[in-house]
């Protein structure tokens, strides 16, 4: 939907909620759906209507207000995570963690909290810095690159592989499978199906291998763990693999790519972050607020009402983080990107029991990417001969960010490690 049609639908006094499709939101002049989210937010404020109804996907409630979103996230009695992906990702195994309710969710989460804790995540900072610099080495002499393809996509895939104890050189495959689960399945199911099949075969082999030779990685931990005296069954183990892959790669790659896209044209912001490194961690959280990649669904378990709107058992609910994060009741100047915004209680990573498991991972990851990138390539701009592309979906963000810059020197003369090398080859194939 273009800007004029957004305005037209308001003037027809038709609610913007009515035909809202979170999988494919209208893209505004800035190249993101934010303009539309802000229009929705304006409607919510003017009509005092923090909850609306959309006819898309068979109908669902859309919760747009901040306090209301938080209320639904906390009310796990009435709202189930059974519909956290809506429409559902086509996976045959249960979606562990994100798709579970307590007490099953709690038992699963306790298994994996430790490897994702702030202290453990810091173990990966050195290798992250090395990998980011090796990726930059791969293109810095060219003076141009699609930084979504060559930084945003690889970094989370490499780190997720390291945390899961999988070979980093399989990163491009992990990325491909994640894409098949979260996007391709909806646009081209025939081409997604064989990829998912390949993924299942891969993880079956990994699980078998971990049973025989357990290590210190997350998957070994899950394979060996007992819940209430029983080992996890095959479907649950596969479910763990897929959810950790999805959670580790998709969101963070979009967050990083969108951040680099913003920095390519927002010169003031870029200079500020270059000058004052201390605010980069706060800026990461502001990127999360302003460009929240993820919106999550819920299934109504028992009749309940939110902001006076009655919801019936069996209905679907979408919690729209990018809209809640623009609620003027909570955020002063909500449509302004304030790099060091504080307090910043955005819901980009959720809240309550399902708050993002990888919150500490993605913060460190994003911070290191920004620090290293701005050190190596302090001046860059969007490549005017090409167009950045927003990737819509339940997880939205920049999928292509072509930039140009003054060519620089490689940092390391040696060959990159295998994880980085395969990504460089992979990304060059798209260049």
């Amino acid at each position: 939907m273009s800007e004029t049609t957004i305005a037209a639908s308001i003037s027809n006094s038709q609610s913007l909620f009515t035909h809202f499709n979170h999988i494919d939101p209208p893209i505004g002049r800035d190249g993101t759906p934010n303009e539309f989210y802000e229009a929705l937010r304006d409607e919510m404020v003017e009509a005092n209507r923090p909850v609306g109804w959309s006819e898309a996907h068979g109908g669902f409630w859309m919760v747009a207000g901040y306090p209301e979103t938080l209320e639904v996230m906390h009310n796990t009695d009435a709202f189930s995570n059974d519909a956290v992906t809506f429409p559902r990702y086509e996976t045959t195994e249960p979606l562990m963690l994100a798709g579970q309710d307590d007490p099953a969710h709690k038992r699963a989460r306790l298994l994996v909290n430790e490897p994702f804790s702030p202290g453990r995540v810091m173990d990966f900072t050195r290798i992250l810095r090395e990998s980011v610099n090796a990726l930059i080495d791969g293109f810095i002499q060219h003076g141009r690159a699609d930084v979504a393809k060559i930084i945003g996509d690889p970094v989370p895939a490499i780190l997720t592989a390291l945390i899961l104890g999988l070979p980093a050189e399989h990163g491009p495959r992990f990325f491909k499978w994640t894409w098949a689960m979260s996007h391709e399945f909806f646009t081209d199911p025939d081409s997604a199906a064989p990829k998912l099949k390949e993924m299942y075969a891969y993880f079956e082999e990994v699980i078998e291998e971990r049973r025989r030779n357990p290590g210190a990685d997350v998957l070994s931990r899950v394979v060996q763990a007992k819940i209430d005296g029983d080992y996890l069954n095959h479907e649950e183990l596969i479910g763990f693999c897929t959810v950790l892959l999805l959670g580790g790669i998709d969101n963070t790659s979009k967050l990083i790519s969108t951040s680099l896209w913003r920095l390519a044209w927002d010169i003031e912001l870029r200079h500020r972050l270059t000058r004052d490194r201390k605010i980069i961690p706060l800026a990461v959280d502001e990127f999360l607020r302003y460009y929240s990649p993820a919106s999550v669904g819920r299934l109504v378990k028992e009749d309940v009402s939110v902001a006076g709107v009655p919801m019936k058992r069996g209905q679907y609910v979408m919690l729209m983080a990018p809209i809640a994060n623009r609620d003027p009741r909570v955020f002063p100047y909500p449509d302004t990107f304030i790099a060091d915004r504080s307090p910043n209680k955005h819901l980009g990573l959720g809240a309550a029991i399902h708050r993002c498991l990888g919150a500490h991972v993605l913060r460190v990851e994003s911070r290191i990417v920004l620090e290293e990138f701005l050190t190596r390539i302090p001046e860059f701009e969007l490549d005017r001969t090409r167009t950045p592309k927003w990737t819509a979906g339940q997880l939205g963000g920049m999928g292509s960010v072509p930039i140009v810059f003054k060519p620089g020197e490689r940092l390391s003369q040696g060959p990159p490690n295998d994880g980085v090398r395969t990504w460089l080859e992979h990304a060059m194939a798209y260049a």
């Binding site: 938080l70 909290n113 430790e114 804790s117 702030p118 202290g119 961690p281 706060l282 959280d285 504080s342 307090p343 910043n344 209680k345 955005h346 819901l347 990573l349 809240a351 309550a352 029991i353 708050r355 919150a359 500490h360 913060r363």
Partner: protein
């Protein structure tokens, strides 16, 4: 209320004490992002612990600690001696 109390804290040379409700904290980690001097991660969930008080002389830290308390999405933090 906040501003008035700041004056009182300043005049009397008091310290600000923060409390955390660990049943409510789920480990967003925003507090130790904003005021790492006061809040630190303490367990596998990333839940916070409070490691020190803030004196009225530390204007910047006082401000950041207030922001951390105000910025907790779960409302798990409160300033103990400010009622």
């Amino acid at each position: 209320m906040g501003r008035g109390l700041k004056v009182i804290v300043g005049l009397r040379g008091l310290t600000m004490k923060v409390e955390i409700d660990l049943d409510v904290c789920v480990g967003h980690g925003k507090c130790y992002l904003v005021a790492p001097e006061v809040f630190q991660p303490s367990d596998d969930l990333g839940r916070a612990k409070i490691v020190r008080e803030v004196s009225s002389a530390e204007a910047d830290l006082l401000r950041r600690t207030r922001n951390a308390v105000a910025g907790c999405p779960e409302g798990a933090l409160r300033i103990a001696n400010e009622d």
